[in-house]
Amino acid sequence: MKNKHVNAVVVGAGAGGGVVAKELAVAGLSVVLFERGGWVTYDAHNDDELLSQRTHPFKAPFGPDNERHRRVFVGQDGSERIVLPNDYAFNNNAACVGSGTVSYGAMAWRFMEKDFLMKSSYGHVEGSTLEDWPITYEDLEPSYEKAEWEIGVSGDHDGNPFQAPRKKPYPMPAFQYNREGQMLYDTAKRMGLHPFPIPMLRNSVPYNGRPACYRMRTCVGFACPVNAKCGTHNTVIPTALSSGNCELRINCQVAEILVNDQGRATGVKYFDEKDKGRVQTADLIVVAAAAVETARLLLNSRSRLFPNGAGNNNDWVGRNLQGHAYTGASGIFEQDVYDDVGPGACWAISDYNHDNEGIVGGGLLCNSFFTPPYAFTRQRPPGAKRWGLDHKEFQRKNYKKLVSVRGPWQEIPNYEARVTVDPSVKDHWGIPVARMSGERHPYDRIGCQFMSDRAEEILKEAGAIKTWQGVGGRGLSGGQHQSGTARMGNDPKTSVTDKYGRVHDFDNLFVADGSLHVTNGGYNPALTILALGYHVGGFIAENWNGGTFSTGQS
């Protein structure tokens, strides 16, 4: 049976897509929201470290599945291999309703003003594609505020003196520090730094009809058993559905955006839950499949006017793939610092995000989420024996005495870190798969070393009896913080979309996820992606004229 024509198709029910679907549906547009995965519940993923979205030796429990999905990873030596979703080189993002917002650690960071103005602030970095965003923090501020109130954030309104100006307080109070956080708070104060509780997309008090967090140790990597973690799956997507204007189509894999000979997007081709190829036509399309899959979908959508993929006439789709190089240090203390008050991460400083002498950019530093026992087997100083009595003694002695201070380094984007589509490898549905190649800009290594030095100083001051660094910044980036592959810009020759996320040369094709990020901030990107959902969705809803979508471009 042929699908009924709708006003809008949104591809991907994660952070960006969930918000856009809701913005459009409540504005009165008929929406079909596609999701390649399904609904997940807490019960299926019962605190099992081997089935967590963070450590996934068996499979990625929140998807995508190993049976139908694959990618090609090109190593630094040029070697190619096919990787499955539970392989780290796959760089997966959860495939389920809510995507990463179901199982994430839920840090709720606004980027700083300079994060939108990296090139103006630091100048050109040789070999990079460092650039300013076409929008400023002020442009995005109202969207950040909507995200904080509609999805739900707990935080201290003026805890961070370095934060960009905020108009409205957080809807919920900040979480209290656990023992480790308290120790680091005291330490940072002594050092003249400016510690504050991490803002979290997690209820500190009952909010939005859902209960408060009870601070279990297993949080990141899992769904919340009491539904206190806030994602699009338990906020905006239910709102979209209850508006009566949005249909959520789960377990559907979108294969291609259909573009007619006049260069207008007319709908999508997809495979339904029974693998049957189908078409959904719409007045406008919003792609929000996360940086790797968004690029893949655009590149797989070839048409007369866009023979190299939708929006790719200038070869920028899939370029500038970024994520975050995690970098920092670990320390062992004499006394127990672990007090089982989850999820672990609660303390942060923003002292090193910008204005570091001689350094381009920076990043936040915070304490880590609790490391479960198997993952802890890899938390070792360099050169430590991995097995035998030494291994066992280290586990037993230090499980509650080890603190890691780490953070996401703001990567310097480059043109060759990229997503293309593989010429021969196909997925279960016969769709060409994403092929990932390139590596981080060499500057990232320098920045990571700087951040690791800062982290180690803090641990030493806190009284750690042994410290060591874990310095990131090598290899190809991506991961759950993947971004940058459809960057926004005012110049169509050096970007993929305009400042509203509309793909250049299109009137009715949009992107609304981390792919838009010109640079990725020194912060976890979830709140920014949610905010971009409001930014793009709001623009479409405002300009919706009740019929065929047109804003007079092209």
């Binding site: 099992d48 520090y177 009870y214 601070r215 026992p373 198997y374 097995w387």
Partner: protein, 192 residues
């Protein structure tokens, strides 16, 4: 009254559910899904070197070998061949170097043997099909998963590793610990 098929299946499900609710294992299995007895013994001996028994139980008491057998017909079915061949290569290497099986070697000999394997220094003649370092890392990684993972996957019998690390087991869910939090210095305002 005749039992309806559906009713029967449902009660069967309840019965199975109840079984999986208790710790998944308490002893080494008597019958194997994939392994043969000799392979199971060898895995157990290697794993015991990786996580030896001392004042706390080691790999043998945690029944990690159950994990290997279960996962080689589960998530790690694709590693079956690697294990079958790799375990043979360990035995052949041991026979050549020590004139006896790995299990018959002393603990010191086993330790030395594994240290050599870790850096790829066992004689190469028995390792043509699979790289000894790759197989070493695979066995080590799977042993850690078995020992520290959830008992539902076969290892960590009786939660021995959780007891050793002094974390609660099974994990307590639904406990609200707000009232118990203590903190000497409270971060500024608006904090619970």
């Amino acid at each position: 009254m005749e039992i309806q098929r559906r009713t029967f299946i449902r009660s069967l499900c309840y019965a199975c559910g109840a079984i999986t609710f208790v710790p998944a294992c308490t002893t080494r299995l008597k019958r194997w899904r994939y392994l043969i007895e000799e392979e199971a013994d060898l895995i157990e001996a290697v794993a015991e070197q990786f996580i030896p028994s001392d004042k706390d139980p080691g790999a043998t008491e945690a029944c990690v070998v159950n994990f290997f057998d279960k996962q080689l017909t589960g998530y790690y079915t694709h590693h079956q061949e690697t294990y079958r061949e790799g375990l043979k290569s360990i035995q052949r290497s041991a026979a050549k170097a020590y004139g006896k099986s790995f299990r018959e070697m002393t603990r010191n000999e086993q330790n030395t043997f594994l240290e050599q394997m870790e850096i790829g220094e066992l004689p190469g003649e028995f390792w043509e099909h699979t790289d000894q370092r790759v197989f070493f890392n695979m066995m080590l990684d799977h042993t850690m998963q078995a020992f520290y993972g959830s008992p539902r996957h076969g290892g960590n019998c009786n939660y021995v590793s959780y007891k050793m690390l002094k974390i609660d087991y099974p994990h307590i869910i639904g406990q609200n610990r707000y009232g118990e939090q203590k903190s000497s210095v409270k971060p500024k305002n608006k904090v619970l």
